[in-house]
């Protein structure tokens, strides 16, 4: 990666941007170097995560949101990262989210990038955060991150996004099953999409009950009462707590999209005023460093400790001669001694 291509990216050259995204996604040396340089120019984008079960309309909603964000904030560019699963058997992937986003192709200020999950299980790909950093440095003010169809525990997006939107639909059987713990907890905004279908109001009521139960508990702990919470929820910006709003949309008909966009922008304002923007940024940086640290430590370990030693310990454990814990202690001791020698 030459500095010429980084300059081209900074000047808005989309081919340069696209190629750097590939280098970063494939974790080439050039991509890593580019990312290290570009990271210093990040920090201004509003990252919005969209998650929910397969078929709930995430891509269609992203399509509508991108259009509305561009209409409301015409000077801002919008990036979309759409993650779909890789096959666990062949490693191949069929990335079909663009099919729902065809009417965005005429707007050159919108950039859609499909990503295969490549074995990661948290709803994103391992390099999704890195790609969002490239878009951030390239001056994209809004970055919409669409996860793979999520069940209950694919919650990685919350570590990456400032605003997390959880999308559900009416009539998905027992709502308690599709959206109880885990995924509900991470929502800053809840959306019942396909709200023209029967049962939409029921879904909203159910979700509202869930949200209020959670908030009644946490607010009571803080010496407040449920009544206070209800009063505050009428004036969300004045409240110290962000109560996840529940919105109905019909994304393919563009219904409810203006209201949803309004709430997203309000959430950004709330995060900045309450100091949580800063806190979220810090948490995501901490997680990022931790992840890279683990990877580096493991790489060092693999270089220091011969595979033969690992193999012989595996055999020893399999014979029930020692426990797995003891094997780990032996390996760590070996690693420590070995790296001490090499540093002296």
């Amino acid at each position: 990666m030459t500095s010429a291509s980084l300059d081209a990216l900074r000047k808005g050259n989309r081919l340069a941007l696209s190629r750097i995204l590939s280098q970063v996604e494939n974790r080439t040396d050039a991509g890593q170097a580019a990312l290290e340089e570009l990271f210093l120019e990040t920090g201004s984008a509003h990252k919005i995560g969209i998650t929910g079960p397969p078929g709930s309309g995430k891509s269609t909603l992203v399509n509508a949101l991108a259009r509305e964000l561009r209409r409301r904030e015409p000077e801002q560019k919008v990036a979309i990262i759409a993650v779909d699963p890789s096959s666990p058997f062949t490693g191949g992937a069929l990335l079909g989210d663009r099919v729902r986003m065809l009417d965005l192709q005429d707007d050159k200020q919108i950039f859609i990038r499909s990503m295969a999950s490549r074995g990661a299980l948290g709803g994103l790909a391992e390099q999704t955060e890195a790609l969002s950093q490239v878009f951030d440095a390239a001056g994209y003010g809004f970055i919409l991150i669409e996860t793979v169809g999520a069940g209950q525990s694919e919650v990685d997006v919350v570590n990456l996004a400032h605003t997390t939107i959880v999308v559900d639909t009416p009539g998905t059987g027992d709502d308690i099953q599709s959206i109880k713990a885990g995924i509900l907890e991470i929502a800053d905004i809840l959306v019942v999409n396909k709200a023209d279908r029967p049962g939409a109001d029921q879904s909203v009521t159910y979700l509202r009950n869930m949200v209020e139960m959670g908030y009644a508990r946490s607010i009571n702990n803080g010496k407040h009462h449920l009544e206070d919470f209800r009063e505050n929820s009428e004036h969300e910006t004045a409240s110290a707590h962000w109560v996840p709003p529940i919105l109905k949309t019909v994304a393919c008909e563009f219904k409810g999209i203006q209201e949803l966009t309004e709430v997203i922008l309000n959430h950004a304002a709330y995060l900045r005023e309450s100091g949580q923007w800063h806190a979220k940024d810090q948490a995501s940086i901490r997680a990022n460093i931790r992840r890279q640290l683990i990877a580096s430590l493991l790489k060092d370990f693999n270089q220091n400790v011969p595979a033969d030693l690992v193999n012989s310990l595996v055999e020893e454990v399999q014979k029930r001669g020692i426990s797995p814990n003891e094997a780990v202690r032996v390996l760590l001791t070996y690693n420590r001694n070995n790296s001490l020698e090499s540093s002296e």
Partner: protein, 134 residues
């Protein structure tokens, strides 16, 4: 590090609505371990080139059954080049009369596959083409 994934865009330019062939090929390439971006029906050449740019694909596969290939394919090639993507492998599937095949190949199409093609042959050809460009 694992081998670099081949990224493919499968698109249907023009007005015919028969996308079964495109989907079969997309699926076969997925099963061959490639990352296949499928954009659906009724794409203009400009939309296809735009998607190829944003996705930084190695390969573009077009499915055309309408008879409009002599108009659409040169335009896709021109749009890809105008965007600076000169090294993309372009292949074609569908109903292409024999008289037109050589002209299209001369314009820069890598291979043209008709009905009954073994999808394994397509995947093998594409892998070789991408390898030779690397």
């Amino acid at each position: 590090m694992t081998e670099k994934k081949i990224r493919v865009l499968i698109a249907k330019p023009g007005l015919d609505g028969h996308d079964r062939g495109a989907k079969v090929v997309a699926r076969a390439m997925r099963d061959d371990g490639m990352e296949v971006i499928y954009t659906g029906l009724r794409q203009t050449p400009e939309m296809i080139a735009e998607a190829a740019l944003q996705e930084d694909v190695d390969v573009v596969g077009l499915s055309i059954l309408s008879g409009a290939h002599n108009a659409l394919v040169p335009q896709v090639i021109a749009d890809l080049r105008a965007n600076g993507q000169t090294d993309v492998v372009l292949f074609l599937g569908g109903i292409i009369p024999e008289d037109d095949i050589q002209t299209l190949l001369d314009q820069g199409v890598y291979k043209i596959y008709g009905p009954g093609t073994d999808t394994r042959e397509v995947c093998k050809d594409i892998r070789e083409a991408v390898k030779s460009k690397a």
